[in-house]
Amino acid sequence: MSLFNVFNVAGSAMSAQSMRLNTTASNLANADSATSASGEAYRAKQVVFEAVPIEGGSTAVKVREVVEDPSPLKQVYDPKNPLADDKGYVSMPNVNVVDEMVNMLSASRSYQTNVETMNAAKTMLLKTLTIGQ
């Protein structure tokens, strides 16, 4: 019964999108974290989506990896800060708040779309159960 595969496909997309939303939340929460366990400033994290063919010809999604943004950290002049270097600069996270807001909207909309996909498949399956009644 291939319609059940819609649940697998839409479900995989929902978990991938929620992981993307999680990284966005982490990036926004740490937009000002000048230090971390490693002693370095926080680096923005991004998810990489990958299409995974599954049985029956359809294609699910999975998060292949979570990568750290390699772009340089923001240098902020703040000599009062205990983390400032000898010239008075502090390395701040390379989180771009505008990018993250866009990512958040996109992830949330994609998640909603997949919920609707799943609901449509559910309606179709319920209708299928009425055959012969």
Partner: protein, 141 residues
Amino acid sequence: MIGKLDNYLSFNETALSLRSQRQELLASNIANADTPNYKARDIDFSSALQGALVRSGASGSPLATTEAGHIATPAGAADGKTLPDGTPVLYRTVKQGAVDGNTVDMDTERTQFADNGLRYEAGITMINQQIKNMLAALQGA
């Protein structure tokens, strides 16, 4: 008699099965709307239905191969180029390119998804009516 009943219902059955497989493909497109380099896919429904009707009329269900000498009935390989019943899966023509190589156009996919779902339900209504007609004929009431 059973063969006639089978023929009576087989058109709508084939159409419903193709519709549900197409729905799955469209769901894959929607799910991969944010996957880089994913190419949107679909089937050409009318030619797929023609092909499926010819196949189901010619041979019925595929035969099992239980001995080394048996010849397998041609079935869709699991390479993603065909559906399990042998229908070719095509790539959608790009309307607006994206920088990440993704060709999913959400407007097209959502429209087709709603359209396909509605036609599936219409197919179910029709097969139900066929069953009611057949019952009326059998019971004579």
